[in-house]
């Protein structure tokens, strides 16, 4: 068998790259030994209503990777079509996607595909998310008609159309970042928004170059009016997709010929206007589509000055031609971008000259070049490149003042430094800003950049009823940040801060190789792929890191498209996905511990010559850090019965090694000199000049007049700790659930279809990573000195180190289409039928906390042991502790604490401060929130050929009922509750000219 040699050679050293090479050799072997027969098909794509040609439509055979683009006359030709049954699909902007099934036995010409323009005259117009039947993994697509009907404002709104989805609670863009989380929720362990990939026209909106945490991309800068469709992959995606753990959201913007479209939309907080036009550039010049959008959201209608603005531009160009030998080529290029962001500069309520402004500029470019070589050993090739650049400059200009001098610490090196004026020494580690008034302009300059190159080849081959498809590719990605980081416009007035330039942090380079084989044998279809990501992280302990991501999907057709129960299929999938870390994990911003070391009395002019001890916190990079990954499984079954279509998906996923952080403590002693030492000085205060020894911290006062000798001031020594964060891999978190969609078909008499979708979602996460904690910010030793003990806890120094939740969401949608009136009406009732959550306290499979008989107790109850028994006070101990004097000896806490209780009252009192206790009886109670629901109404009406209007009312009944919670055994109103969406309405108008 071809390729066996390679396997033997590399046995025992199966790195990712080598395995992929072996597979490629193996497949190449197959390719060289198998040849099949192909045919040519050709035809025209015509408008259904007048049989005019549809230009620039894409005709494709998705299963085989073949495609063609119609010319001006609507003609298309596809070569290399395998014999047998194929599904031909025609797509064109503004038209309903059309599929035609064809059995190819010989060269076939004269195929006619009739397409219809999208309009409400059609009975099939979709206004909900539609499951993509042809995909192996669970995925949904939301078309433009559905987006217009729901009056999409921001990408996160589309999640509500997924099974069990609920309406976005953010009613405007000025309320903060909007991130997508698939099969997970923000606030849970596992960085689910970070692990949800978002792509616009194939450009990944990576946040890996961010320094502000592990979060997904803020999607507010994506224009909503030029989105043609959104594809959401919640199942096990192809290995072509990497650097994610939760799934992929793919946004396709308008591309192709389209009329001049003007759209306006208004909501209580937001106004939007956009234009779009797509046209051909001569006969052979290709097609260019341009979109412009302006949206403005205000946070408070009563004070419409603080706003978020979006000014989006989208360009999409495509050109198809045939080269030598009639080989089809296609070039796609485009750019999307935004100039806008949040700002409060015009707020008349703010003090003159003060403002806050957050740029949210984005530029995303993509170019792809694909062709069909027509060779037996290679079907299609695609080369693409993307670039994603953001400018997230945050400016905050504020008015400052001080009655005495303000200290500004800029020192980067350890030591004691006395405050100096900027005029005296601009580079002094500690400066003082004189008393008075001034403006402070802080700028955080972050300019993430990532670009990628991608080469992908596809080989398809059919043998009788069976076929296989091989896709192999390589991808290179570079990620960096061209920003300057935080700085201040005027160095004389910069407060305590240290420069950390993002643009001096090395780029992260990743190379990914992937190969995926798809095999169809009669009713069975299997795809199996492997992806290897190699990350090169220069300038860090991580170096080159490799990871492997195998994924498998299988689908079996149980019943074909005949009979009462038909098109029944079952799907199974398993896959591993790796998420690369963000720069906030790889290159954490250095931090410093600054301790006030000298504080003489303030002089009459407000000047104070403070001295500080500066201690840089050494690099907290963790050489043991591993990349976060998820393993996920899903089983789906779907089919039709009579007029009903149903799908049911069971999924389970575990996020491993999530990026998180722990704190480490290092003891240190510093000297403190205060005014009491100065008071005893014989040198007159007017003649004093202070110096501090950088190494020892001893303060010397000198006589400017020289009359008296220098005096060393008395000091005291203080023992304390320097803390620093360190990135680590957290504990696993598990999610599983069931999603269903049932379309009950159309009630023809009423022109109404009913759909019921929903989800059951369960989550469980317990953080057990050992973390150090000390209450030094709240507690002192019994002798009044700074606290001296460090406790080491499993997961957290609070009583709860995890949580579990279960939720059943149900959405019933009634959609009435009246083609004669060009009207679609939909009513959607969103209900949360079951909403359960509970805090957890566990370690190594056992209960971590213990029951306290009374809130003030420190020792475990002698009678009660179950913290989940209901209405229990709960305490936890650290596993062990160390002290300032001996950080190496780990003393088991429980035993020592029990001993101290009997033998050493002082130690007992001090150790008691490491005991965490729940403040309330209900902390570990089960929280079952009673059912809540809200109804949304959407109406879209076309007025002739050229205009349409949409109206929506969210939470139309303005549900102000009450819900109960078993957590605190209380009731609360749904008014302004996050359990239901806010009541509001919107109106939009579209003109097609």
């Amino acid at each position: 068998m071809p390729g066996c040699t390679g396997i033997l050679i590399f046995a025992g050293k199966f790195t990712g790259v080598r395995i992929i090479i072996i597979i490629l050799l193996y497949i190449a072997g197959i390719a060289s030994t198998v040849q099949g027969q192909t045919r040519e098909i050709s035809g025209r794509v015509l408008e259904k209503k007048d049989k005019s040609p549809v230009s620039y439509a894409t005709v494709s055979i998705p299963a085989h990777g073949l495609w063609a683009v119609t010319g001006i006359d609507g003609q298309f030709v596809i070569k290399g079509v395998p014999t047998g049954k194929v599904e031909i699909m025609a797509t064109c902007l503004g038209h309903v996607k059309q599929s035609v099934e064809l059995r190819v036995a010989r060269d076939t010409a004269g195929i006619v595909i009739l397409m219809e323009e999208e309009s409400l005259l059609l009975e099939t117009i979709e206004v909900t998310a539609k499951r993509k039947q042809e995909e192996m993994a669970t995925s949904y697509t939301i078309d433009r008609s559905a987006l217009e009907h729901m009056q999409l404002l921001q990408l996160t709104d589309v999640v509500s159309l997924l099974p069990g989805g609920s309406t976005n609670r953010a009613v405007h863009l000025a309320s903060g970042a909007q991130r997508v989380a698939l099969r997970g929720a923000s606030g849970e362990m596992g960085n689910v928004t970070f692990g949800t990939a978002v792509e616009v026209d194939g450009v990944r909106l990576s946040t890996n170059a961010a320094f502000d945490g592990s979060n997904g991309p803020d999607t507010r800068n994506i224009s909503s009016s030029n989105i043609e469709s959104v594809e959401v992959i919640t199942g096990i995606p192809s290995v072509e997709h990497g650097d994610m753990t939760q799934g992929v959201v793919k946004i396709n913007t308008r591309a192709g010929v389209s009329p001049f479209i003007i759209e306006t939309s208004t909501k209580p907080h937001t106004k939007l206007v956009s234009v779009n036009k797509g046209a051909s550039i001569g006969r052979r010049g290709g097609v260019l589509n341009i979109s412009l959008e302006h949206a403005r959201s205000i946070s408070d209608p009563a004070s419409p000055y603080t706003s978020y603005e979006r000014n989006g531009l989208s360009l999409a160009y495509s050109l198809a031609w045939k080269g030598r030998g009639d080989i089809p080529f296609r070039l796609k290029a485009g750019a999307t971008g935004n100039a806008g962001g949040y700002h409060s500069k015009s707020d008349p309520d703010a003090f003159t000259g003060t403002y806050s402004r957050e740029r949210d500029h984005a530029l995303r470019g993509h170019a792809s070049f694909d062709w069909l070589p027509g060779k037996a050993w290679i079907t299609a090739v695609e080369a693409s490149a993307t670039i994603n650049y953001s400018n997230r400059r945050v400016e905050s200009r504020s008015r400052k003042s001080g009655a005495s001098s303000t200290v500004a610490i800029h020192g980067l090196e350890e030591g004691y430094f006395i405050a100096t004026s900027h005029e005296e020494d601009p580079a002094a580690p500690v400066l003082y800003i004189p008393a008075g008034y001034w403006y402070e302009l802080a700028i955080t300059d972050s300019k993430p950049l990532n670009f990628s190159g991608n080469l992908r080849a596809r080989w398809f081959h059919a043998i009788g009823d069976a076929d296989h498809s091989l896709v192999a590719g390589a991808e290179y990605t570079a990620t960096g940040n061209l920003g300057r980081g935080l700085y201040y416009d005027d160095p004389r007035l910069a407060p305590t801060w240290r420069p950390y330039r993002y643009d001096e942090v090395p780029f992260m380079h990743t190379i990914a190789l992937h190969v995926e084989e798809g095999i169809r044998l009669s009713r069975l279809r299997v795809t199996a792929g492997l992806r290897s990501d190699i990350a090169l992280v220069r300038g860090s302990e991580y170096g080159g890191t490799r990871s492997l991501s195998p994924r498998v999907n299988a689908k079996y057709v149980i019943t074909r498209d005949e009979g009462f129960v038909r098109d029944m299929t079952i799907r199974v999938g398993w896959g591993k996905s790796v998420k690369l870390p963000s720069f906030s994990t790889l290159y954490p911003t250095p931090s410093y511990t600054d301790r006030l070391a000298f504080a003489p009395g303030t002089l009459d002019d407000g000047t104070t010559f403070y001295a500080y001890h500066v201690m840089p916190k050494l690099s907290a990079r963790n050489p043991g850090l591993r990349w976060q990954y998820s393993t996920r499984q899903e089983i789906g079954i779907e089919g039709k019965a009579g007029g009903c279509t149903a799908s049911l998906v069971f999924f389970r996923g575990v996020n491993h090694r999530s990026y998180t952080g722990v704190v480490t403590y290092t003891p240190f002693t510093y000297k403190l000199t205060d005014q009491s030492a100065v008071e005893t000085s014989a040198i007159p205060s007017a003649n004093r000049r202070y110096t501090v020894d950088r190494a020892t911290g001893i303060v010397t006062v000198m006589d400017k007049s020289g009359a008296l000798p220098p005096e060393q001031l008395a000091y005291r020594e203080l023992n304390t700790f320097s803390s620093r964060g360190m990135p680590v891999n957290g504990s696993p978190s598990t999610r599983w659930g069931i999603e269903w969609v049932i379309d009950f078909g159309k009630i023809r008499v009423l022109n109404t279809s009913i759909r019921w979708d929903g989800s059951f979602y369960a989550y469980r996460g317990v953080e057990e990573t050992i973390t150090a904690s000390m209450p030094n910010s709240t507690q002192q030793m019994s002798n009044g000195q700074p606290y001296q003990y460090v406790g080491y806890y499993a997961g957290s120094s609070t009583t709860s180190n995890g949580s579990e939740k279960r939720r059943v969401s149900s959405n019933a949608s009634v959609v009435t289409r009246i083609p004669a009136a060009r009207l679609v009406f939909s009513l959607r009732v969103e209900a949360t039928l079951y909403n359960y959550s509970r805090n957890l306290s566990e370690h190594e499979g056992r209960q971590r906390g213990f029951v306290l008989d009374n809130a003030g107790d420190y020792m475990p109850s002698a009678t009660e042991t179950d913290i989940y028994g209901g209405n229990r006070y709960v305490g936890i101990y650290p596993l062990y502790y160390t002290s300032f004097d001996d950080m190496e000896t780990k003393i088991p806490f429980a035993e020592k604490f029990a001993w101290a209780r009997e033998n050493d009252a002082t130690l007992y009192n001090d150790l008691a401060k490491l005991v965490a206790r729940s403040n309330y009886l209900f902390t570990f109670n089960k929280d079952r929130v009673s059912a809540s629901l809200a109804a949304n109404i959407n109406v879209t009406k076309e007025i002739g050929e050229f205009a349409s209007i949409s109206f929506n009312a969210t939470n139309a009944t303005r549900n102000m009922g009450r819900v109960s919670s078993t957590w605190t055994n209380s009731e609360s109103s749904l008014y302004n509750s996050s359990l239901v969406p806010t009541f509001y309405y919107g109106l939009s108008l579209r003109l097609k000219l």
């Binding site: 008034y437 100065v678 009192n909 403040n919």
Partner: protein, 442 residues
């Protein structure tokens, strides 16, 4: 000659007749008194306690003082007497007043002078030192950019007629820090859950004096809570707290936030620095600028250090970040519960035993919370005659605030040499008003 003999004889007879030892009416008797302090009292006999003996028939009064053993000795003629004594012991701003009265003591020939009269004293506690003024809301900055609030101060005042020692006096605040901070300590019936518990939840930390401080009657002490510097150079509406007589809260270790605590003016001696015990998170003792519940107290039967660092004294519902101490109400010398003017969600924090009312406060206008004058008590002091200034004009009634109903301008009267007695009914609604200008700006 006979005439001379006659006169001499008469004079002799008259002289003899006038010997009070022989004439019943003028015969004197030793009268000893022994002061008896209450059982279990921390105090015992001392020298110098004035003892007063009044002949209730003739009105003749005799005064003397005790010796070290608490004994006082008189020589008195026969008669019916009322014996009284008062011993004032002052500590931590509180005076323990020992009073004893014994009436209808008949001194005759049968008087047994060998046994001292036992005068049993009973103790009563009087609030000597009280919060005269609390300035917390700050003032407008000169450039109009907002409010400057790092100039808070409190003035303590000896309202009694006795010298007050405030060495052990401490400062605290009741949680929540703001009256508008929620109803965490309210029970289902809408009442304070600790109303009758004998404690209040004290937040953040405590401040204490580090040197001996005594206040004579009518004397006051200014304690800078923040910014013990001359704030007026930058903020002309603010106050100058750089004064060598002033005290200041300044603990460089526990609260090193130099915005709240710039190094005190060099003119303030370090002996005037108050230090702190911190038991909750934060690098500053963030007394509310709008609506705190401010208290002064004196620890009893334990030290402030032990009380502050003992985990058993923490409110178990408060956790480790916003730890609250269960401060006994019996320790509290004075308190003022402040509400934010115009806010609909003010919650009272001081139980009735500490402060039965509240005072409304307006933030950022340079206003201070100032105690009303007890007009009757003040006018009853004879020495005040001609020294009282009326027509008080610093009220804030024109801005929905309040004013001193006595009409007496306390600060002007003090400067005029008067001794002001402030109202102390344990009810801030009666005892305080909102002053339009901090008294230190006068």
């Amino acid at each position: 000659m006979k005439k001379l003999i006659y006169l001499f004889t008469c004079a002799l007879a008259l002289t003899w007749a006038c010997n009070d030892d022989e004439i019943e009416e003028y015969k004197t008797y030793p009268f000893s008194v022994q002061l008896v302090y209450p059982a279990g009292s921390d105090y015992s006999a001392r020298a110098g306690v004035e003892v007063h003996l009044l002949n209730t028939v003739s009105g003749v009064a005799f005064d003397t003082v005790t010796n070290d053993a608490g004994r006082a000795d008189f020589i008195v003629p026969a008669g019916v007497y009322e014996l009284s004594a008062t011993d004032v012991r002052s500590e931590g701003g509180v005076a323990d007043i020992f009073n004893g009265v014994k009436s209808n003591i008949t001194v005759t020939d049968t008087w047994d002078a060998s046994t001292p009269v036992q005068l049993t004293l009973t103790v009563s506690r009087a609030g000597q030192v009280l919060v005269k003024e609390l300035y917390i809301g700050g003032c407008q900055k000169d450039d109009g950019s907002g409010v400057f609030q790092m100039d808070k101060y409190v003035i303590l005042y000896n309202n009694s007629g006795y010298t007050a020692s405030i060495d052990s006096l401490a400062f605290g605040m009741i949680y929540p820090y703001n009256a508008t901070g929620g109803d965490a300590y309210y029970d289902e019936s809408g009442g304070l859950s600790y109303e009758n518990a004998g404690w209040v939840p004290a937040g953040s930390g405590f401040w204490y004096f580090t040197s001996s401080v005594t206040l004579e009657p009518g004397e006051q002490v200014v304690v800078a809570i923040n910014g013990a510097i001359d704030n007026t150079a930058t903020y002309s509406n603010s106050v100058n707290l750089a004064n060598d007589k002033y005290y200041c809260m300044y603990d460089i270790v526990n609260f090193p936030n130099t915005t709240y605590y710039p190094a005190p003016s060099a003119v303030i001696p370090t002996s005037h620095y108050l230090l702190s015990y911190r038991f909750a998170s934060g690098n500053a003792w963030v007394l509310s600028t709008s609506c705190p519940a401010f208290i002064i107290f004196t620890p009893k039967e334990t030290s402030l250090n032990i009380f502050s660092n003992n985990p058993e004294t923490s409110d178990p519902t408060s956790g480790t970040v916003l730890t609250r101490k269960m401060l006994p109400t019996s320790w509290i010398v004075d308190g003022v519960d402040v509400f934010r003017h115009g806010a609909a969600n003010n919650f009272k924090r001081a139980p009735a035993v500490v402060d039965a009312g509240y005072v409304d406060h307006i933030i950022g206008a340079g206003y201070s919370i100032y105690r009303n004058v007890d007009a009757a008590a003040t006018l009853a002091i004879e020495e005040n005659a001609g020294k009282i200034i009326y027509n008080y004009s610093f009220g804030t009634v024109d801005v929905e605030g309040s004013t001193d109903p006595s009409g007496i301008d306390a600060e002007a009267s003090l400067k005029n040499g008067a001794r002001i007695i402030y109202k102390d009914t344990n009810n801030s609604s009666n005892d305080f008003h909102l002053r339009s200008r901090a008294s230190l700006k006068n």
